[in-house]
Symmetry: C2
Subunit: 226 residues, 2 copies
DNA sequence: GACAATTCGTGAGTGTGCTCATATATTTGG
DNA sequence: CCAAATATATGAGCACACTCACGAATTGTC
């Protein structure tokens, strides 16, 4: 085997030109494998659901060994959490890039933000619950997701803070307003849980609740109650 | 062995008089075993934490076979969920039985309710998170707890509805007030999640937030905004 | 009391997520 | 170009939560 080494690698170099791209070997291959895992997982989660999807199946579909999955994601939940991260990022981008919202009142921005998040989640409802649930317990002694979801929460809160700042600068606000993003975070979690359990057509109940509660909440905020 | 049957049961009747109580056999024994499981689980959860406690260890400590545990609780999480149920029941009882609260304003009752819940949870914080998290996703396609926690939620909402009714009868309230317990449910979940992540001394942050937000919320409600 | 019917404890067995020593592939240094 | 050093894919193996076919114990019936 050792004697064949050089020959082998040359052969492979040729043979592989078809798939793992000609250029930067290792890094390139890593990206490729990661993409394959994500793709395979998404596919299986959506067809079979989260629990019925085994890591072995993900590995097989991604054409790698089972252990390899765990070189890329610490746990199975971590794979699902990946989609949750995308959800937050995508929603923030949507709000930021919508020109119509540029000068809209705060409650509309927040509605758009949450609405966008829920829309994304709807496409993945079949399995996203599992990731969600884990993201909810950042500092809990159980579960290894503390760091990653803490980070996510931080990014999210920062963005909300921005939106509030745009609508009413810090110096015009009440003494407790620094608390507002925290309150919104709790509110958002509540909405998510409500949404998960909302069986009305197109999640109308959740949207109605969103609209009404945001209006009340923001006007409360603007009157300096908070 | 079959020939010894009668003899054996007589012997056992005597031998057992020490532990599994003299009277009603089966029902008695079931209660006994269930109690032993709960006791063993509580003990292990508190010393070792939830994850580090195996079902095998629980069974061993309760002096039963491993499979038996699952005749009493569907899953390991279910055992922890049991403590969560106790928490809700105990908190409702506390509020109901406190004479000082009899004619107190709504916000005080609600504060007492939630405060009592959090106090109970504090004693079990080491592991309660796991149960909590599962209780949060009642109708989610994942997880088998839908029915039990739906029931719990229903009982809880009924109680909150009672409290509200005492404070302001239905006919005096706004058209959307039937929604109020739902809102409180979301609020409560938010508080729980906040509490789980609150690392301030004695969870002061959570309590402060509770106090302030309940006052604002209830006065909103009383002004007919809801 | 004896037999049948029923309930329930038992523990070996199963499939799972995840780990770890090893083999193999890639990069680096000379 | 080779060899040492490094990175990483591999899959047998592990511990765990949970299942199930079985037999023993209890209850119901005459």
């Amino acid at each position: 085997m050792a004697t064949k080494k050089t020959v082998k690698s040359v052969t492979k170099k040729r043979a592989r030109a078809a798939k793992p791209r000609p250029s930067g070997r290792r890094a390139q291959n890593k990206l490729d494998i990661r993409a394959r895992i994500v793709r395979a997982a998404l596919d299986l989660f959506q067809t079979k659901g989260f629990d019925a999807t085994t890591t072995k199946a993900i590995a097989r579909k991604a054409r790698i060994a089972e252990g390899t999955v765990f070189n890329y994601f610490k746990t199975k939940d971590d794979i699902a959490l990946h989609f949750f991260e995308q959800e937050v990022d995508q929603a923030m981008a949507t709000v930021r890039e919508n020109p119509r919202l540029r000068n809209a009142p705060l409650e509309e921005k927040l509605f758009a933000l949450v609405h966008s998040q829920l829309e994304y989640l709807a496409r993945h409802e079949r399995f996203i619950g599992a990731a969600l649930i884990h993201a909810l317990k950042p500092a809990s002694p159980l579960g290894p997701f503390s760091h990653r979801s803490q980070e996510l929460r931080h990014r999210y809160l920062g963005f909300v803070e921005e939106l509030i700042e745009e609508s009413s600068p810090k110096h015009e606000r009440g003494p407790l307003s620094f608390f507002a993003p925290e309150v919104f975070w709790i509110y958002y979690l509540g909405v998510l849980l409500y949404w998960l359990n909302d069986s009305s057509e197109g999640k109308q109940n959740t949207l109605a609740f969103l609209d009404r509660s945001l209006n009340v909440g923001v006007s409360m905020f603007k009157r300096g109650w908070l």
